[in-house]
Symmetry: C2
Subunit: 219 residues, 2 copies
């Protein structure tokens, strides 16, 4: 097969934090991929074509190794297990692996699902800002507390991991909802160290092909 | 150290589906443990003592190997990585491992967080039944579709996995909310095969030390 046939394709929306996590992971592993934009505002994830790829009608979907994979954390675990070259996306030590997954899960199941578009629509325009603030703050409070124990330069010690792939998109989201981040000195310092790295810069929403405006992301 | 010192302790609530997942996993791996009940109705998860163990103020928390672990899926991954004897909780094949994690994640991030006590309180008494029904149904629709491809006797082929540890508690929850399960023939058939197994029977909410009523769980 030619490279064009085997190159992974990521079904992504520029500001979806779940897509953003997978973009970072692919970049960290130096896996070249093509972006296929799915516009959530236009409900493109609800088409029969997309639902065939992901019955949950969500993004991201990653075409890789001849298969269509859904759900960001399982996608990243699959990438790591099938591409065991460095950099690792999970630490070697089992307890540190646990820490990376635990931080990721606080974000992926404890924050993001409660503030996604779909849920906020059901909450209603009047209440949605308060709702999102509440759940983002409760979740980030917990993450900051966990980082007191786990963090070094990054979320778990001095090695970048799955947890960092989740943290940066969640902080991007928190800013969209105008959450005050001054109470989170550890995570915002980690974010600063991550956001200067090419893998994170390339994955930023403003740098995606479907970003609608002028790029404001700075190197 | 004596066995009494090293025996894991699970901070659990009988009908918490996240606790239920970990109970199943521990039983499948034949790991003997002690239950420490945390009553969510009495908000015992909000005490300073509990928050020191889990800053997200949730259960389960598992004391094992001298550490307190939180978040059900990372706990189960840790158990599997540190106890690599059979039965495996994740298949050997990377794509099947992905499938097991993906089904688990649809439940753990796509359904459960949207119908837990904490969220339903915020939704309010008037709307909470409709809200829970909606999110449980959307999630289970997706799981059933995935199972069309992945399932054998169990969620992924013929081996019990992490996905089965998540499915059974989610169906228990769906029944509590009176969700009609007749549209889910694959998952309910799998559930039936799982619920006759000792590891699943012992983990059932009705068999927990903090279950308040007469046991109705039948072998």
């Amino acid at each position: 097969m030619s490279n064009a046939e085997t190159k992974p394709i990521l079904h992504s929306y520029y500001r979806s934090s779940c897509s953003y996590r997978v973009r970072i992971a692919l970049n960290l592993k130096n896996i070249d991929y093509t972006t296929h934009a799915v516009n959530l505002i236009k409900s493109e994830q609800l088409t029969d074509e997309h639902k065939k790829l992901n019955p949950k009608a969500e993004i991201p979907v990653l075409f890789i190794d001849g298969k269509a994979l859904a759900q960001s954390l399982p996608i990243i675990e699959y990438i790591e297990e099938t591409r065991q070259f460095k950099p690792r996306l999970l630490p070697e030590d089992p307890f540190k692996r646990y820490q990376a997954r635990m931080i990721s899960e606080i974000i992926a199941s404890g924050i993001q699902p409660l503030q996604n578009l779909n849920v906020l629509k059901r909450v209603g325009d009047e209440k949605k800002a308060d709702w999102a603030h509440h759940f983002i703050k409760v979740g980030l409070d917990a993450v900051e507390k966990v980082l007191e124990e786990s963090a070094g330069r990054y979320c778990v010690g001095d090695e970048i991991s799955l947890a960092d792939c989740c943290l940066v998109p969640q902080l991007y989201n928190a800013r969209r909802f105008n959450v005050d981040l001054t109470n989170y000195p550890i995570m915002t310092a980690i974010e600063e160290r991550l956001n200067v790295l090419p893998a994170f810069q390339k994955a930023h929403p403003d740098r995606q092909p479907d970003f609608p405006g002028e790029s404001v992301a700075k190197a």
